[in-house]
């Protein structure tokens, strides 16, 4: 456990090393959040405040804020750290450390996630305090259902990023893989538009992918909305997808290690 916390602390230090940049980078997603509000405010105004796809304006505004906090838990640089290390060869350092590859990865990602998560929590809190009258404010009573769902969602997302990153062992670049992953996540997770607004056939496809269980499901639980498949099924599917990605990690990492030569051995 000490190893994990040490790696987490190192990761947090490296996040905060370039302070100006860190602060500016925090601002970036907030600009996009502002734009999302303007867009949906305009669409609801056009509708005279009527619900769009069954979602009331207050629900949508709360959804946007929470989806923003969930989808921006990791920066682009943070998400691609492992991919970059594989591309530059720095990944060799991970392979010689006396800790499992996946443990190191999860510990480092946790470091990045804790800082960004704390900032996002502040943004969400400030958002609900300042603009609570325009939003559906989550009830504290849903927390016992939400927290396990959130932990599983974050774990699932980290595992998905890990598996996509490991694919970089078999290509010469990482951007194609990262963009593919980001595009699939942004759309099917509900980060761009709530999955609840999708037409039936597209919703059915989304529910058969792991992405809605990384974002849409925890946000829906927190807001007391329909989780599309029911809460027990959400937990179950999150666990199943984590196990699938764990299996894929073992498979791909095993294949990569077979062809990987470090320090001559």
């Amino acid at each position: 456990m000490r190893t994990i916390w040490k790696l987490t602390a190192i990761s947090m230090q490296s996040q905060l090393y370039y302070r100006t940049s860190f602060l500016l980078n925090l601002l970036s997603p907030i600009v996009l959040l502002f734009g999302q509000y303007l867009l949906w405010a305009a669409l609801y105004e056009q509708q005279g405040g009527a619900a769009i796809g069954g979602m009331e304006q207050r629900e949508m505004f709360a959804y946007i804020l929470l989806a923003f906090a969930m989808s921006n838990l990791l920066s682009w640089a943070g998400e691609n750290r492992l991919s970059r290390e594989i591309k530059t060869g720095q990944v060799a350092a991970r392979c010689v450390r006396p800790a499992a590859f996946l443990t190191q990865y999860l510990a480092e990602m946790l470091g990045a996630l804790l800082i960004q998560g704390a900032v996002n929590l502040l943004v969400v809190f400030a958002g609900f305090v300042c603009f609570g009258k325009y939003m559906t404010v989550p009830s504290i009573s849903v927390l016992p259902r939400f927290i396990p769902c959130l932990i599983l969602a974050v774990t699932l997302r980290l595992m998905m990023i890990d598996v996509f990153s490991l694919l970089c062992f078999f290509t010469t670049g990482y951007l194609g893989i990262s963009w593919t992953r980001a595009a699939l996540f942004d759309f099917f997770s509900g980060a761009m538009i709530p999955v609840a607004l999708f037409p039936g056939w597209l919703k059915a496809i989304a529910c058969r992918t792991p992405f809605p269980y990384m974002l849409q499901a925890p946000v829906a639980v927190l807001l007391g909305q329909d989780t599309l498949v029911g809460l027990p099924a959400v937990y179950g599917l999150q666990l199943v997808w984590i196990l699938i990605f764990l299996g894929l990690h073992g498979l791909i990492y095993g294949l990569a290690r077979r062809n990987l030569t470090i320090a001559g051995g």
Binding site: S28, A42, Q46, G176
Partner: protein, 259 residues
Amino acid sequence: MIKIFLNMKAQYIKTEMEYSANFWMMLFSGVLTRLVSMAAPFVIYSNLPDIAGWKRDEIYLILSFLFIAEGLCSVLFEGIWQMPAMVFDGKFDCILSRPVSPLFQVLSYGMGLQGISVFLVGAVSLPVYLRRLGRFHLRGVILSLFFVLCGTLLCMSIYLIGNCVVFWFDAGGRTTIPYTLSQVGQYARYPLEIYPGIMRFLLLFLVPYGLICIVPVEILRGSSPMSFSYGIAVGSLGFFLLARAVFYRGIRHYESVGM
């Protein structure tokens, strides 16, 4: 100079095509990201009849102009996105030591393979939606080509200004500021009239994605006068000169490796 520029791009594409898995992955990701972008208005229009009187095909025409400009920028001027890394790892010193314009060297450096497919998605969808909107005639096509040219220049200028922050802010070779500027383009996918004044000002004058794709479609659909085309041309040239000035100002601030 143009011959050298094109020769360099030809060499880059030959090099990249040697690694076929990566090459096809990049093309695939370009198509996928743009299809996802097109899916967002699709979902909105499946819940709403129109957006401020704009039809779905008109929104797709906006996207087509945006994709072509972004794709061409990525293929032709990918070096702009390499600037933060160049400054961080010292490669920018090499740029300054060569007897060729640093801006030319940055613009001609590298090639965004993803841009090829982004451009192709735009190039296929542009005539399709021009035809569906009844604007596929000589005047419409010539105007579209003019807008594509101006849009590419504007897009390149926005990317250049955004990436020049690396000369002032130490970010370990990574900064999200240029990415954020490019993401402002997400809001240029819908008509300007749905946004409040501040957002319109942002999209027309500060980060002028509106001139790349919204105003051209407004002109083509007849909701803005033809004279706005001159505004697009002046805006493109003005922004390019501004970006060039910011770039050379940044170089004066540059303190070599370890800044």
